[in-house]
């Protein structure tokens, strides 16, 4: 094995204080990027959680709908027209809207009501930990998530409250259905959701379409658009992309997360570049000796690049540990920081790229070294 790696390793570990500074720079940078990108992923997933859990091949929605939470309305008559289209097996209504939840104690909190027809496939609460879905058919029944008990002033099944002066009773409890807006979701039937959200009879927010066997989604969409006016028809994947794009980019939230990540990369690059440069400067005599004894420029660059790579691996391992801990700590929070294998690999590639890029300044310095200085030192 060539001495390149040994030399790089020894150069790094020779000055431990500088190595610590380098590693701190990398760790700081990569943890910052991890948090920002993890928030981006977590946010991206949370804004589509309702779409992910809906049983729909196609979504019919009012024209110009920006995201799932957009409260525009469709006429129920369009649902019947949709059901008559060839290829449509089922079209069920989903009603959403904001409402005011009044606790027995008299305080109030905004909630996001999600109602769908219990008999048809639609958008029903999932992760039920207590109660049954069928219990929602009982008058005034709602399902809420246990993480919002305190906010909603309830203690479990049987607890009561009021929405729009109408009594509600908790009949089912979910776990982990959290809203990125921090407004609790309240699941109920479509009819009651209209009452709670003040939506007129005969209106709905979405129609969820299930296709019949062997029906072509594109062809069915074309037929729906040709027969029903003022609507848009999206697949779940398309609606997911649209919602994500709205929340992440149209609101500027994604840009802020990206800006934080870019800042992390810049800070990390500057710190690593600075420490590598100063390390190279300190070892300039050795690099000049290498050049004097006939080493190629490439050999010297390899030493510096290996220094950068070793720093990258050490820094990344520590950053990944800290990142993993942060992911674990935020797991049950309102906005969990997510980490996927692809993101982990991407972060490693980013760390390596950042460190190698940082080596450029050091390489430029070494390129200018005059081997003849070995005679004067």
């Amino acid at each position: 094995m060539s001495l390149v790696r040994k030399l790089a390793f020894r150069n790094l570990f020779h000055d431990r204080l500088r190595l610590v500074a380098t590693v701190i720079g990398i760790v700081f940078s990569i943890v910052l990027v991890t948090v920002q990108m993890g928030l981006y992923l977590g946010f991206g997933r949370m804004v589509t959680t309702m779409i992910d859990h809906a049983q729909a091949d196609l979504w019919i929605m009012p024209k110009g709908t920006k995201c799932f939470e957009d409260p525009s309305l469709l006429d129920e008559r369009k649902r019947f027209r949709a059901k008559a289209i060839d290829g449509v097996a089922e079209a069920s209504s989903v009603v959403i809207g904001f409402a005011d939840w009044r606790t027995p104690g008299g305080s109030s909190t905004p909630v996001f009501v999600v109602g769908s027809d219990l008999k048809a496939g639609g958008l029903h609460p999932w992760n039920l930990v207590e109660g049954q879905l069928t219990a929602l058919s009982i008058p005034n029944a709602v399902a809420v998530d246990q993480s919002y008990f305190e906010r909603l002033g309830v203690a479990g099944i049987g607890s009561t409250a009021e929405i729009r002066q109408q009594k509600v009773r908790v009949a089912a409890i979910t776990d982990g259905i959290r809203s990125f807006t921090t407004t609790p979701y309240v699941f109920t039937t479509a009819a009651r959701a209209r009452q709670y959200a003040g939506i007129p009879e005969g209106k709905a927010t979405y129609f969820l379409v299930r296709l019949s066997e062997r029906a072509d989604p594109q062809e069915t969409r074309r037929r729906l658009l040709a027969n029903i006016d003022e609507i848009e028809v999206l697949t779940s994947a398309e609606f997911r992309d649209r919602s994500r794009s709205f929340w992440l980019f149209d609101t500027g939230a994604g840009a802020a997360l990206f800006a934080g990540a870019v800042l992390g990369i810049i800070v990390g690059t500057v710190i690593v570049a600075q420490t590598l440069y100063s390390s190279t400067k300190d070892h300039l005599g050795e690099f000049a000796t290498l050049r004097a004894i006939g080493s190629s420029a490439r050999y010297i660059y390899e030493v510096i690049i290996w220094q950068a790579l070793i720093s990258a691996v050490i820094g990344f391992c520590l950053a990944a540990l800290i990142g993993g801990l942060i992911v674990k700590l935020t797991e049950g929070g309102a906005l969990p920081i997510m980490m996927t294998p692809l993101m982990t690999f991407g972060l490693f590639a980013l760390t390596v790229a950042m460190c190698v890029f940082s080596a450029i300044a050091a390489i430029v310095k070494v390129m200018r070294v005059d081997p003849a200085i070995v005679f004067s030192r």
Partner: protein, 239 residues
């Protein structure tokens, strides 16, 4: 003299520019043959180090010709000059220039490493070179664990391990006491005696004269004298 391993013909070197320009070498010609130890002597500022840098392919002459192993260095790119250095020239520096983070074997092996020769065979060659300079017992020692004389021996082992035909030594005894200086010069003299290598030692120390086959005197950028050294005469006398 056998075929020169290093040769400078009418070498001129200008240093600086404009009003600060100085002619460091004013048409210097010098050849070092295999099997000889030549001393290049002169006062400070005489051009010794400039000539050594040019012969060592680290500095390009302004005029004249330099041949290393018979190859003309004119017009060579920096990478080609580096190639010439690693194939043809071994260096011994006044301040040793060993790598403090590498042990003696690795320091010597580095010369082979930059040639792309590594592994057990290279390590064995490095250890053999260290044994030749009397450091077989210090193979794993780091420079900080070695005396000045021992460090210079490691540097000599590094210069000879690649079988370079020319050894350039810049004030190799300047940082050593007379006993260690004598030991170092004995080693360099032995290297020259094997007949395969030529050694050029730059010095202003007259105590090195007894080791020389030839003494070249330089002053103010010019060769001002050349004489046969006592070493060759000693050899003949001994014979």
């Amino acid at each position: 003299m056998k075929e020169p391993v290093l040769e400078a013909i009418d070498v001129v070197k200008l240093l600086g520019s404009g009003a600060a320009e100085v002619q460091a070498l004013k048409g210097v010609s010098l050849a070092v043959g295999a099997g000889e130890l030549a001393l290049l002597m002169g006062p400070s500022g005489s051009g010794k180090t400039t000539l050594l840098s040019i012969l060592g392919c680290m500095l390009t002459p302004t005029g004249g010709t330099v041949r290393v192993g018979g190859l003309d260095t004119r017009g060579q790119e920096p990478e080609q000059l580096a190639e010439l250095r690693r194939r043809h020239i071994g260096f011994v520096f006044q301040s040793y220039h060993l790598f403090p983070t590498l042990n003696a074997t690795d320091n010597v092996q580095l010369v082979l490493d930059v040639r792309g020769e590594y592994g057990r065979k290279a390590a064995r060659r490095a250890q053999d070179a260290l044994a030749m300079v009397g450091l077989a017992h210090k193979l794993k020692s780091y420079p900080s664990q070695l005396s000045g004389g021992e460090q210079q021996r490691v540097a000599i082992a590094r210069a000879i391990v690649g079988d370079a035909p020319a050894i350039l030594a810049d004030e190799p005894t300047a940082a050593l006491d007379s006993e260690n200086g004598h030991a170092i010069m004995t080693i360099l003299s032995d290297i020259a005696s094997d007949g395969a290598r030529g050694v050029l030692v730059v010095t202003h120390d007259p105590r090195l004269v007894p080791f020389a086959d030839r003494i070249v005197r330089i002053e103010d950028g010019r060769i001002v004298g050349e004489e046969r050294g006592p070493a060759r005469r000693k050899t003949k006398a001994n014979a």
